[in-house]
Each structure stands twice: as structure tokens, then as C-alpha cells.
């Protein structure tokens, strides 16, 4: 039984039937002072991260830096190869033909920026992560289909299994289960 865990307790996971219910519950949980919480949904829900008091805009800045690195890489590659390493006179054009250097430098900017965006998103999200305790919730496979879940971790200072369970049940959760680590 999931309700009598033998391993250390990860937390309580509540299941909801719809996105508005999950959103309301997330707001209530945050208002009640829980911090080590997470919500799971089969598609992005606007305002859900906000309801969990989660704000992270670092990605934009990191991607900007990635793009700038790409620009510097592309341009210095061109400058090094065409001006320093092996200057060649081709059709009398200048070695440092900055206009002609724009397209490749532009492409490396995009290349570095895009891969920074993709990889940083995965790294900040801690992916790939083959195991996570929340997968132990018996009906969690529906989180990628049509059900909505809210988890409060046992590590939360306000966590008390009986009280938290009563609180979650009061938020119109369809079911609340204890999940092992």
C-alpha cells in the first residue's frame, strides 16, 4: 500500500481533475505557507508557476550570453583564418572584409544561442533525470495524459502528514496519496 510507506516519505501527492482546480489548489497551498511544493500537468498552464511562487528568468540572460559568445567565436574565427593565419589575396578584396564576415558570424550567434537555450533549459530543470519519487504515486502516469497533480514534500518545514493530508483533501483533491522517496 502506498499509504503505509516503508521507505522514507517523499511527501503527499494530490490528484485533481482539471487545470482550474489544480491552479486554485496551488494558490491555496502557497498561501498556507508551503514552499517545497510542485504541480504536475499534461500541458503548460499559465499562471501555475506563479501560483507556486516560482520565478526564474535567468534563461534569457544566459541565452543572450550564449549568443554573444557565438558572435565572438564566429567573427574571431573569420578574423584569425583570413587575416592572421593565412591571408590570401582573392580578387583584391580586403583581408578583413567585415561585410562578408557578417553572415557566418550571424549564423554562429544563432547556433550558440539556440543550443544554449535548449541545454540550459534541461540543466536548470535537472533533466535528464531517470528517477524521481513522484513517479511512485500509483496514478502518476496520468500526469502526462489528462490528470493534474500537486505534491507537498515531507522536507517542507510546515509539513505534517495528517494536517497536510487534511488540508489537501479540503482543496477538492480527488485522491491524496503518500509517496515514498
Amino acid at each position: 500500500m502506498a499509504d503505509q510507506p516503508t521507505a522514507p516519505l517523499y511527501g503527499l501527492v494530490a490528484e485533481f481533475d482539471s487545470a482550474p482546480e489544480l491552479l486554485d489548489a496551488a494558490r491555496e497551498v502557497t498561501r498556507a505557507g508551503y514552499r517545497k511544493t510542485d504541480a504536475f500537468s499534461p500541458f503548460p498552464i499559465h499562471g501555475l508557476a506563479d501560483a507556486l511562487d516560482f520565478h526564474d528568468r535567468r534563461l534569457s540572460l544566459i541565452v543572450l550570453l550564449g549568443g554573444i559568445c557565438g558572435l565572438l567565436f564566429g567573427y574571431s574565427l573569420e578574423y584569425y583564418t583570413q587575416v592572421i593565419s593565412f591571408p590570401e589575396n582573392i580578387g583584391g578584396r580586403p583581408y578583413h572584409a567585415w561585410v562578408a564576415f557578417i553572415p557566418p558570424a550571424f549564423e554562429t550567434t544563432i547556433l550558440f544561442g539556440a543550443f544554449t537555450a535548449g541545454i540550459t533549459m534541461l540543466v536548470l530543470n535537472g533533466l535528464p533525470s531517470p528517477y524521481h519519487p513522484v513517479f511512485n504515486a500509483p496514478r502518476f502516469r496520468f500526469a502526462s495524459q489528462d490528470k493534474f497533480f500537486l505534491a507537498i514534500e515531507a522536507a517542507d518545514p510546515k509539513f505534517n502528514e495528517a494536517e497536510t493530508r487534511a488540508f489537501l483533501t479540503g482543496l477538492h483533491a480527488r485522491e491524496v496519496v503518500a509517496v515514498e522517496e
Binding site: 482539471s18 510542485d38 504541480a39 504536475f40 500537468s41 499534461p42 500541458f43 503548460p44 498552464i45 501555475l48 508557476a49 507556486l52 516560482f54 526564474d56 534563461l59 534569457s60 541565452v63 549568443g67 564566429g74 574565427l77 573569420e78 583564418t81 583570413q82 593565419s85 593565412f86 582573392i90 578584396r93 572584409a97 562578408a100 564576415f101 553572415p103 557566418p104 550571424f106 549564423e107 554562429t108 544563432i110 547556433l111 544561442g113 539556440a114 543550443f115 537555450a117 535548449g118 540550459t120 533549459m121 530543470n125 533533466l127 535528464p128 533525470s129 531517470p130 528517477y131 524521481h132 513522484v134 513517479f135 502518476f140 502516469r141 496520468f142 500526469a143 502526462s144 495524459q145 489528462d146
Partner: protein
């Protein structure tokens, strides 16, 4: 849809972008059942067989090419750029619609893009694969192409020439291919989690589980995911515009009459999107029939794509008129000769008029709303555009090169059977990759489709099998 200015039932009112009565569950079931089924439609096997046969033709053609050299093609001097470059530009252009749909329409908040973006992105990726084959095999000795194409420190201490548009092209196309693959994979992650959770077979569960990277739909993850997706769309938008611009520089920077025109970059980009939408329609119409996806790819999608095709087609026709006007207005003897040779007395003037038929006249039927809602009419127009856009590159490349400045260097161009086997071989490669993709990965983005279900889901409708 809501607040439509038209009365209910009026034919002018926009059609829905998703069939009525769908719930999260019915969307998930329908779209996962396309892959996680043992009843693959017979039509899938038929198309796959055709694609695979053509693909084997490509293998033979390339093997023979490597054995004999590019003399097996009709490529000659002065037509040193013939089928390989025509095919390259054609395929790269086809890819552009995928990025337009996934990135530009996302930024413009066009929610109808949702059901077509996934397979359009796959189409982009496979079109780039087909395109990339040509410049490499056109070098004749592709095993040497590494130092011709990429700047890496080699034993000869030489570098590619960055003042040439050809190396810009290498950077543009390789960036385009890599970023498209990344965009596509990132978009697939949440759907891989759905497959992991719905697949029955333990091996499939494991395989899709690995691809899902352990995605669990956490709100924090979604927040960063959407942020990254938006940034990728923002980065892909200038990228896709730059790719065909750079491809057009391959021609426009040269001084050959018929190539040296400032209209080329916008005209090429419009042509790419034109052809790309035609190819998306060419794939979408049979796929939705094959898998019974009319609820997801509705007539609204077909109609919107037909409209985009019509609009970009008119931009392309504007490009043709500009080319003609530039040639005439330049007063330059060679430019004017090129035009007359291309349109009037040259041995390949027929190709110009077939091109006008395919790219200008036939697609005008798309002005009619009734015809835009007739699948066969849209499909026919799209097939004409596919052929027309190939001919456009044929006209630009071959008629400009075969009679240049000096009559003593003129030469007629005739493609050989190997040219055609290679061209149709890449069509086979494209079909094979596309149909393998449809068989093993979700061809419509499942998680994005769920966001289109706005109403409180009613009882799940009976999902028809196929």
C-alpha cells in the same frame, strides 16, 4: 472563433481548429494510437514501399557516382551547376515552411499552427537531410569535402574563404539543420513522456522513457520549457529568413546575367515558404485521410495553408516581374539577351512558361473559398507548386548558365538518367524518413493539442479506429 461576426452556419465563418467534443483523454488516445498500434494502415506500407524503392535508387546512383565521378551527370561547362544545385535549393526551400509554422506562427500566436507544426518540423529536418546530400556529392570527392567546407586546423594549414557566399551557405545550412533538430527534439520531450506512460510493451516504455529524459510535467519545468521554446522560436525566425537569403547570395553575388539581381533574397525566401507550404499540404492531406485525423487537421488548416500559399505565390510572381523589369531596364545587352533567351527563343523557353503555369496561373484557383475547402483542388494546386518551384530553380540556374557572355562558350544542357535517379532517390529518402517518423513518433504535438481544449471536457467521444 468566439464572437464571430457571422451568423451560425454561414459559410464565411471560420471553421474550428479542432473537431467538437474532444477531451484531453480523447486527444491523447487518438494521437498515441497512431503509433502504439498493431494496425498500421495499408496505405502506410504502400507509400513506404515506394519510398524505399526510390531510396535504393539513390544508393545505387551515389555508389556509381563515387565510382565513376560526376561525369555520369549531364552537368557540363558552362552549366557547371545543374541538377545538384537545383535539387539542393528546392529541398532547402521546402524545409522553410516547417520553421515558419513552428517559429513565426508561434510568435504571431496563430493557434491553428498547433496541429501541423510537428510533422512540418520533421519535414524541415528531412528536407535539410535531402538537400545536404547534393553539395557534398557535387564535389565529386566527398571524402575531401571536410576541409573544403569546414574551417578546422588541417595539415595543409589552409582555410575556407569566408569572403565567398558558398562558405556562408555551409554555415547557414548546418546551423539551420542543427537548430531545427534541436527545436524538434525539445518539442517532442513532453510527448515522449506521454508515450512512456501509455505504451504497453516494456521495451517501448523504456525507449520512450529514455527519449522523454524523465519529463514529469512539473510546473517549474513547464515554465522554463515554454521560456526556452519562445526563445528558440525567436532565434529560429531570423535564422530561417537568413538561410534562403544566403542561398540566394550564391547566385546574386555572381555576375552571371539572370543571377545578379538585388530582388533575389526576398524573392527566394518567399519562394521557399511557397514551396514549403505546398509540401506541407502534399503531406497533410494524405496523412489526415490515412489516420482519420480530420478532427485535428481540419478544413480550416487546409484553407489557411492554401491562403499562405496564394499570398507567398504572388510575392514570387512579383519577383519574376522584377527580374524581367531589371533585365530590361538595365539596358545591358547581356541582361536583355538572357531574358529573351529564357522566355522567347531559347531552347529551354518552354520551361519558363511551364513554370508560369505551375507557379502563377494554377494557384490562382485558391482565391475561391469553395475550392480552398475542396481537398482535391488544394492538393492539385500544391502539386503544381511543388513542380513549379523545382522548375523555377531549373530556369534560374540552367538558362542563365547555358548561354552566357560569349557565344563560343555556349553549350546545351541535357540531364542524364542518373540526374533523375538521384533526384527521385532523394524523394524516396524523404518519404522513407517521413513515414518512419509518422510510424514511431507523434505526428501531431499532443501536449499542445491539449491546450486547445478550452471547454470543460464532456464525456470522451467515441474515437473511431482506422
Amino acid at each position: 472563433m468566439e464572437g464571430s461576426q457571422y451568423p451560425k452556419g454561414d459559410f464565411r465563418a471560420p471553421l474550428p481548429i479542432i473537431g467538437p467534443g474532444h477531451s484531453f483523454r480523447s486527444i491523447t488516445n487518438k494521437l498515441t494510437s497512431v503509433v502504439l498500434t498493431k494496425n498500421t494502415p495499408k496505405a502506410w506500407f504502400a507509400v513506404m514501399a515506394i519510398g524505399f524503392v526510390l531510396l535504393n535508387g539513390l544508393m545505387i546512383a551515389i555508389t556509381y557516382l563515387l565510382f565513376k565521378g560526376i561525369g555520369i551527370w549531364g552537368t557540363n561547362i558552362p552549366v557547371g551547376w545543374a541538377f545538384p544545385i537545383i535539387n539542393f535549393v528546392w529541398w532547402i526551400g521546402i524545409g522553410h515552411a516547417g520553421t515558419l509554422i513552428s517559429a513565426i506562427l508561434l510568435l504571431f500566436k496563430q493557434d491553428w499552427r498547433t496541429s501541423i507544426n510537428r510533422f512540418a518540423e520533421a519535414m524541415t529536418l528531412f528536407a535539410v537531410v535531402c538537400a545536404a546530400i547534393f553539395p557534398v556529392i557535387h564535389t565529386g570527392r566527398p571524402w575531401l569535402a571536410a576541409y573544403w567546407l569546414f574551417p578546422y586546423p588541417n595539415a595543409m594549414t589552409i582555410w575556407p574563404n569566408f569572403r565567398s557566399p558558398l562558405i556562408w551557405d555551409v554555415f547557414a545550412v548546418s546551423t539551420y539543420g542543427s537548430v531545427s533538430a534541436l527545436f524538434w527534439f525539445i518539442g517532442l520531450i513532453p510527448d515522449m513522456a506521454t508515450f512512456r506512460d501509455t505504451a504497453e510493451h516494456p521495451l517501448l516504455k523504456k525507449m520512450y522513457g529514455v527519449l522523454s529524459l524523465g519529463w514529469r510535467g512539473s510546473a517549474r519545468h513547464w515554465e522554463r520549457y515554454e521560456h526556452a521554446y519562445l526563445l528558440l522560436a525567436g532565434l529560429s525566425t531570423p535564422l530561417v529568413l537568413s538561410v534562403h537569403t544566403v542561398v540566394s547570395f550564391d547566385f546574386a553575388v555572381g555576375i552571371v546575367p539572370g543571377w545578379h539581381a538585388t530582388i533575389f533574397p526576398p524573392y527566394f525566401v518567399a519562394g521557399a515558404i511557397y514551396d514549403g507550404f505546398a509540401m506541407v499540404l502534399t503531406l497533410a492531406i494524405p496523412l489526415r485521410a490515412m489516420y482519420g485525423l480530420r478532427d485535428f487537421i481540419t478544413d480550416r488548416h487546409i484553407e489557411n495553408m492554401a491562403k499562405v500559399m496564394l499570398a507567398t505565390g504572388l510575392v514570387v510572381v512579383y519577383g519574376y516581374s522584377c527580374e524581367a523589369f531589371f533585365g530590361w531596364y538595365s539596358g545591358n545587352e547581356f541582361e536583355r539577351f538572357m531574358l529573351k533567351n529564357r522566355m522567347y527563343f531559347g531552347p529551354m523557353a518552354w520551361s519558363y512558361w511551364v513554370l508560369i503555369l505551375c507557379n502563377f496561373l494554377v494557384p490562382q484557383i485558391m482565391w475561391s473559398k469553395r475550392l480552398r475547402r475542396k481537398t482535391w483542388a488544394v492538393f492539385t494546386a500544391a502539386m503544381f507548386v511543388n513542380v513549379g518551384m523545382w522548375l523555377e530553380r531549373f530556369v534560374i540556374i540552367v538558362t542563365s548558365l547555358h548561354r552566357d557572355f560569349l557565344p563560343s562558350s555556349w553549350e546545351m544542357y541535357y540531364p542524364t538518367k542518373w540526374d533523375f535517379i538521384t533526384l527521385f532517390g532523394t524523394v524516396g529518402l524523404f518519404l522513407t524518413l517521413m513515414f518512419l517518423f509518422v510510424r514511431v513518433l507523434p505526428l501531431i504535438s499532443i501536449f499542445e493539442m491539449r491546450t486547445l481544449v478550452t471547454d470543460k471536457p464532456a464525456a470522451a467521444p467515441q474515437v473511431e479506429g482506422h
